[in-house]
């Protein structure tokens, strides 16, 4: 690959200068904690990107440090000089993706996953109906055969056992495009169903719609919406991510929404950064930014509407595991907690380092299984210290990871994990 100005631009070389190497990000980085060396710290990674841009190291020297990054972006929140780590990381991934010599088989299988499965509603529904995509789609075998993005070893069996029950195909078909607010309509919102979210956590999506309408929102769900592109962007496939983004922008432009609501921290974060994704693109930047400006987490909208009361006691003590992208990118911190406090339970117990990544991080726990489990083990220790019996999460990936954590610790009998939305429904949410 040529190393000139082009590479520097793609690596966001100029952004790396905002890092003053103060190290404030070291104590918050989960991989620095578990891997114990500077290459696996934010400061180290930024420096290596700079070194690659200056041609002092080769792309291959950067690969492992970048692939082991969770992308949780806790470093951004800690950074006193607001280094745009997410941007630097994506640039690095794009360059690494480009630098890699891929076999034909690899290219075909990647295309199948990223170009066809993730963007496709039909695919996702099918997958959802069959069970989760990894188990039944043959992806596992294919991955092993081709070694896509060196994913092996994949520990699919472990994930399979923590999947929720799925609705029947008939159930899925019943979903309509518009749900009216019960009682007076206060606002209109568009709902991002998410791809994996909709496939596996169909029930949570249904509960989300239920809560929104009860709280006083008209909810519309454009059929033409597609995957948010997070997984593509995080895999360095920026062009694909942009294509998906465009389809979503068009889909949501069709209706006048006050907000565009999500219930998956990672998707929300990606949508929030559409504006940034199209920066400098005269045709799309303002349209993308308009969408980004309207993006809200479900907890923000429910808090703002303040239209629910909770009628049933939840049996157990609660602890909360927020998703990284919700905290570090969407900057949503207080709303989920204030909702949880309205629910009657046996109490709320905050865990140590609650805002630290649980190791789920998109498909990190699949591609870097061992590393992810080390991070999860620290999280589970903190969970156990609270003695809570319910772990509430705000993102499907975290939810699965926490379920896996419960299983690893043998706590199935005493502890369960649940999405915030599902807990609110369980707590007997009704219109005020």
């Amino acid at each position: 690959m040529s190393t000139g100005a082009g590479l520097k631009d793609r690596l966001h070389y100029n952004e790396t200068f905002n890092c003053v190497q103060c190290g404030y990000c070291l104590p918050v980085c989960p991989t620095y904690e578990t891997m114990e060396s500077e290459v696996h710290s934010p400061r180290g990674r930024i420096n290596l990107v700079k070194m690659l841009a200056e041609d002092k190291i080769k792309a291959e020297d950067l690969r492992e440090p970048i692939e082991k990054c969770l992308g949780c972006r806790a470093c951004e929140t800690a950074c006193p000089t607001s280094v745009q780590y997410g941007k630097i990381l994506e640039g690095a991934k794009e360059v690494l993706e480009f630098a890699e010599q891929k076999s034909k088989a690899q290219k075909i299988s990647e295309s199948l996953i990223f170009d066809q499965m993730f963007p496709s509603k039909r695919w996702m529904n099918t997958i959802g109906n069959l069970s989760w995509f990894y188990q039944k789609s043959g992806l596992q075998k294919m991955a092993q055969r081709t070694g896509i993005t060196h994913l092996a070893p994949l520990h699919m069996g472990k994930f399979e056992s923590v999947l929720p029950d799925l609705p029947s195909p008939a159930e899925r078909k019943k979903r309509v495009q518009v749900y009216k607010a019960s009682g007076t309509r206060k606002i209109t919102v568009g709902f991002i169903t998410g791809c994996v979210m909709d496939a596996i956590f169909y029930e949570t999506n249904r509960n989300t719609i239920d809560l929104l309408t009860k709280a006083g929102a008209d909810v519309f769900i454009p059929v033409s919406q597609t995957c948010c592109g997070a997984l593509h962007a995080h895999a360095g496939k920026i062009a694909d991510a942009k294509d998906l983004a465009k389809r979503n922008i068009e889909a949501f432009e069709k209706e006048e929404a006050d907000y565009i609501v999500n219930n998956a921290g990672g998707c929300g974060a990606t949508l929030l950064e559409y504006g940034e994704l199209f920066k400098g693109d005269s045709d799309w930047e303002s349209r993308a930014q308009a969408l980004s400006n309207k993006v809200r987490d479900i907890s923000q909208v429910l808090s703002e509407l303040d239209g629910l009361s909770f009628t049933k006691e939840v049996n157990g003590t609660i602890t909360f595991q927020p998703s990284c992208h919700m905290i570090n990118v969407q900057k949503v911190k207080d709303e989920p907690l204030s909702l949880l406090k309205q629910v009657t339970s046996k109490g709320y117990r905050e865990m140590k380092d609650k805002e630290r990544c649980c190791g789920s991080a998109g498909i990190y726990n699949i591609v870097n299984y061992e590393d992810s489990m080390e991070i999860l083990d620290i999280k589970m220790k903190n969970v156990k210290d609270t003695n809570a019996s319910i772990i509430v999460t705000s993102n499907p990936g975290c939810l699965l990871q926490m379920k896996l954590g419960i299983q690893r610790e043998g706590l199935e009998k005493s502890v369960r994990a649940v999405h915030l939305v599902d807990l609110l429904v369980e707590a007997g949410a009704v219109s005020k």
Binding site: F17, N18, V20, Q21, C22, G23, Y24, L26, P27, E36, S37, E38, V39, S41, G44, N47, L48, M51, K56, I57, K58, D61, L62, E64, P65, P80, T81, S82
Partner: protein, 466 residues
């Protein structure tokens, strides 16, 4: 090098030896300037390993550089002559508080703020509080003799060390001081090693003094429309019999930068803000607060606000904390100095800094620990702009000159490292510097440990360009 590596591998577990290019580049910098590639990085975990490595280094004549978390602002851990970096940051297993003795015994890689956190569980406090306390290691703090806002009342790191375990540059393991508060046996090697910037020994364990945590604290903010007046007010307070825990100053450029960065409602027309924290018994604090207000009443047009509660106090301190991040919004590179002057000379120093800012046309911001004369003149620049960096180098040189001429010192807390070495003779004189060099030669005859620091090489000049 091959033979040396073979020897190293025979005594250190392989997962502690880092040799890949990515790893080596990752230990090539600190929070100051310059990138120097070491040949190997070793993550040491006990004193025997260090002892063996130093003996080996003496045999092979290879430099050794101890490194904490690399937050040094003076180039302390940079492997300027290649060789071996010893990463101490992962040796963080021991942190024991002995409440009855009021001491803590810690391993070198423990984060400083963790010591204070654990001490608090016993109603105790570890007072040294560098702003980097939640990132930097105690080993690095000891080597740099770090200070912080609380230095005014409580002193700096050296005032809290009573015993050390050290591996000498020749690889011997020694103990200095002990566990007792009083100790006058022989030369005070403890104090000699503290602040020696990793040139006289590698600290492998420290015994630290703790103090009772004061039961209460309160914060006040005073707003001045005249910078020189703020300096006079500082002296007045300190001579009135009150010793605040902290007394911090922000000049107008810092105030404006913070307001632009995050609007907190600071008075941007003011020439200076003084933040004062008192601690102690609640009744005593109340009395002292009144007295300070009376002192301020003598100054025309000074506005004083006492924080009603912890939240308000925290919002004042937030403003001070935001100065560093706020000023790098202007340009990315921050040359952060810590020239320190006698307290009575603070107004003169401010005047000097104003002149330097104009003379070299640099973006100079001043804030810092006003109570102990430890100012932080920061020059905001862009290290890609060579022409500008040359002006900055000249301005920095003049800042040091000004401080020394006013009876002050090159460094109040960040150390000399590589960056201030060229100015050592200016402060110490040739004979003074020579005395220090002789100590170094005796301790480290082969000049193995952290060479290139503190002592200037022939003709060495300040360079802030890569």
């Amino acid at each position: 090098m091959d033979l040396l590596m073979k020897e190293i591998r025979s005594m250190i577990p392989s997962e502690q030896i880092l040799t890949s290019l990515a790893d080596r580049y990752s230990y090539s910098y600190d929070a100051s300037f310059g990138t120097y590639l070491p040949e190997v990085v070793i993550q040491v975990k006990n004193k025997e390993e260090i002892s063996a490595l130093l003996k080996l280094a003496n045999t092979f004549n290879i430099p050794v550089y101890p490194r904490g978390q690399g937050t040094s602002l003076s180039g302390g851990p940079l492997p300027v002559k290649g060789g071996m970096v010893l990463d101490m940051s992962q040796w963080n297993g021991d942190l024991k508080i002995y409440p009855d003795d009021l001491v803590a015994v810690v391993s070198p890689g423990v984060l400083t703020s963790n010591i204070n956190q654990d001490a608090e569980k016993f109603g105790l406090m570890y007072p040294p509080d560098p702003s980097s306390a939640h990132v930097s290691t105690i080993g690095g703090n000891l080597a740099e003799n770090s200070g912080g806002p609380r230095g005014l009342k409580y002193g700096v790191t050296k005032d809290y060390v009573i015993g050390l375990e050290v591996v000498t540059p020749e690889g011997e393991i020694i103990k200095t001081g002990g566990k007792t508060i009083k100790n006058v046996t022989g030369y005070d090697l403890t104090k000699l090693i503290v602040g020696s910037e990793g040139t006289l020994g590698i600290i492998t364990e420290a015994t630290l003094k703790l103090v009772p945590k004061p039961p209460a604290s309160r914060t006040m903010m005073a707003v001045f429309d005249d910078l020189v007046q703020s300096g006079t007010a500082i002296s007045k307070i300190l001579t009135s019999g009150i010793l605040p825990a902290k007394m911090e100053i922000m000049d107008q450029s810092s105030i404006i930068a913070v307001e632009n960065y995050q609007p907190l409602g600071l008075p941007i027309e003011a020439e200076a803000i003084l933040l004062i924290e008192l601690d102690g018994h609640p009744l005593a604090i109340e009395e002292e607060m009144k007295k300070i207000e009376e002192i301020f009443a003598d100054f025309e047009s000074v506005k004083v606000k006492i924080a009603e509660n912890m939240d308000e106090a925290q919002s004042y301190w937030r403003a001070r904390k935001l100065v560093s991040p706020a000023i790098v919004k202007i340009k990315p590179t921050k040359v952060s100095e810590d020239a320190t002057v006698p307290r009575s000379k603070i107004p003169d120093m401010f005047q000097k800094l104003k002149e330097i800012r104009e003379k070299y046309d640099v973006h100079l911001v001043v804030f810092g620990h006003a109570g102990d004369g430890n100012l932080h003149p920061n020059i905001i620049c862009d290290k890609r702009d060579t022409e500008e960096m040359i002006r900055v180098e000249k301005a920095v040189e003049e800042i040091f000159k000004a401080a020394v001429e006013l009876g002050g010192t090159l460094s109040g807390e960040h150390g000399i490292g590589t960056l201030k070495a060229p100015f050592m003779e200016m402060e110490l004189g040739a004979a003074g510097l020579d005395m220090m060099k002789r100590i170094k030669q005796i301790w480290d005859p082969n000049n193995i440990l952290n060479p290139g620091k503190i002592f200037p090489e022939e003709g060495q000049k300040l360079v802030l360009r890569e």
